[in-house]
Symmetry: C2
Subunit: 339 residues, 2 copies
DNA sequence: TGTTCTACGTAGAACGGTGCACAGAATCGC
DNA sequence: GCGATTCTGTGCACCGTTCTACGTAGAACA
């Protein structure tokens, strides 16, 4: 009856302490390489840890100290520009001994919010948000509870959290200038729709601002910006009729590869030649844009650096920095046959 | 001097208990809607929770009970077939009240291992692994510590964890049969390289098995399987010379879009017409394959269903099931102009 | 009226760590 | 050789939950 099966107990800090013949506190100190342990004791404890294959419980740790875990909140897992950013984050975080866990916000505000709450509840040490949809106000609120660094959301006046961005308005200007230099004068922009006035801090509106000012600067008249509802199933159809219609400009600056690649595909399917009939420059320089069969010119915002800088910022804030820090790097155009 | 700034204390279960005028245990019961609470007390507590905006600490929870959090381990964040699987996982998990946190294993064994350990240490309730590189032995070991369900790794004899897969050998057969039905007889396969005999449980070897048996079944002689080291920087060059060389078959079955899309691109760049000079069928039916400019035929393995089934399995195991469960679903061919 | 059940609520011990206050040993300065 | 000062290591309270055991009040029963 009574199965003498000693349940394979988790090896805890107490097990180690006993095995090494020291106090629990001593083991804790060694784990955190805190001050006040002799080399002898340290070695002794490390041996026991090795022998017993001990790993501290994150949960228990979080209750008083740090968990050495960072959270990353993604817009959506299918954003082609994510892998780079993530690689940047991971390199810095790992080098500093931090682990990473991610959550997917699905570009859905309540979901992003609940993710952040969950990360707070898991006692993570800090959060990197990528292209968050969350309003600045909400972000301020969360940032009071946990250090946050944001990528792809301009909020240069925010006090409680840090931001890291490629200069989106400048990137748009560079794109327009490149088109102008090639001789195009009838230049339009496809932006993210629908337009929401309170989102001016997001990347798309910033690119619109840069676009408009570059158009004006070049003396090309009133800027033409087109929007297609990004949640609309009929979107592809709308793009098609836009390209077929009389309003189609000679050259298009597209706010993201996310739209640029479908537009390029639709255009070619309609028999339009790129760039002979329609010149295109998009944004993000995702791997798909680089495929020879696509070959779409695109602004590169160096995802890796964005990730690294954001993580640097986050770690220094975890380290105690109070003043906000807002970093801006310059994007650069990757030239391809589409313009 | 003495800034009367009461540190915005976290609202804990004690705060709620005090506010509602009941015991801590009562609040806990309400949170878990456990047995033994009157409706009156329940309402009272719920009100306080609402008013104080209380959320239980995951970490503290994990120390004794469940955390209602599932971990997802990904191969790499850039795998085009991931978003679907993830969507499937998320839908089932959320419906059951579970949260999800992900980690990226980067197709790197030690990293996968450390991720799993971290998830165990965070007291997660279970883990879904997607296309894990981990050996079966290691997986057995971890599965004794935490419920695990694996997608994209065939291990039909595993006892301690569950697996969910699309039938990869059957998928390969379907592809070959489709090629044969079109009249192709000189059919080769591009598989994942290098060949490692102990990986037979992975998807690529399974597809090789299906391919070989379909070739034999069709009476097409000895199966020809080509491999290109997937970590090699010179890989694209090797593919190019393969396509230019005399060994190029008339039709190719490619183990994944990951390779199929570059092959298609290289081929067209070389001036080869697809399918007139070279017919192609790949695997995974990723969104890129569906782009009109690519239009690559590909086996669809219904990522969503895989994700859902794996999560179902995981939840039922968390619920107490002991016997292993190994699910196999059928893939289907998405026909496009590439063959 | 007294006894047994049932339903509700509570006290208090876990859980596995961290970090503070402190004691004893070792080292130092003179 | 002695007090003062570091250096090590320990004991213990604490973090925010869950969960077991138990007390109590009221209903049901005899």
């Amino acid at each position: 009856m009574n199965e003498a099966k000693p349940p394979p107990q988790r090896v805890t800090i107490r097990t180690v302490a006993e095995d090494a013949g020291v106090s629990v506190a001593a083991v804790s100190k060694v784990m955190r390489n805190a001050y006040g342990v002799s080399e002898a004791l340290r070695q002794n404890v490390l041996e026991s840890i090795e022998r017993l294959n001990y790993r501290p419980s994150n949960a228990a740790r979080g209750m008083r100290g740090q968990t050495y875990t960072l959270g990353v909140v993604l817009v959506g897992i299918d954003n082609p520009f994510l892998p780079q950013v993530f690689a940047g984050i991971a390199s810095v975080a790992n080098a500093a001994g931090y682990k990473i866990l991610m959550g997917v916000g699905a570009a859905h505000m309540p979901m992003e919010a609940s993710l952040i709450e969950q990360m707070i509840d898991s006692h993570m040490d800090g959060i990197v948000m990528i292209a968050a949809q969350l309003s600045g106000k909400l972000m301020e609120k969360y940032a009071r509870q946990i250090p946050i660094a944001v990528i792809g959301h301009h909020e240069p006046l925010a006090q409680t959290f840090d931001t890291v961005n490629a200069n989106d308005s400048h990137g748009a200007k560079l794109a327009v200038r490149a088109l102008v230099a090639k001789g195009y004068r009838d230049i339009g922009m496809v932006s993210l729709g629908p337009y929401r006035p309170h989102d001016t801090y997001d990347v798309a509106p910033q690119r619109e601002i840069g676009f408009a000012s570059a158009i004006v600067e070049a003396g090309l008249g009133a800027p033409k910006i087109f929007r297609f509802d990004n949640m609309d199933d009929a979107r592809l159809g709308k793009i098609t009729s836009f390209l077929a219609g009389p309003d189609r400009p000679r050259a298009l600056f597209v706010w993201s590869d996310l739209d640029g690649i479908p537009i390029l595909n639709v255009a070619r399917q309609m028999g339009l030649h790129v760039p002979e009939d329609l010149a295109l420059i998009a944004y993000d320089n995702s791997p798909v844009a680089a495929l020879p069969l696509i070959d779409l010119a695109s602004m590169d915002q160096s995802g890796i650096r964005l990730g690294q800088l954001a993580t640097d910022a986050l770690l220094s804030r975890i380290g105690g920095r109070k003043a906000a820090q807002h970093v801006l790097i310059d994007p650069s155009l990757t030239i391809r046959s589409s313009f």
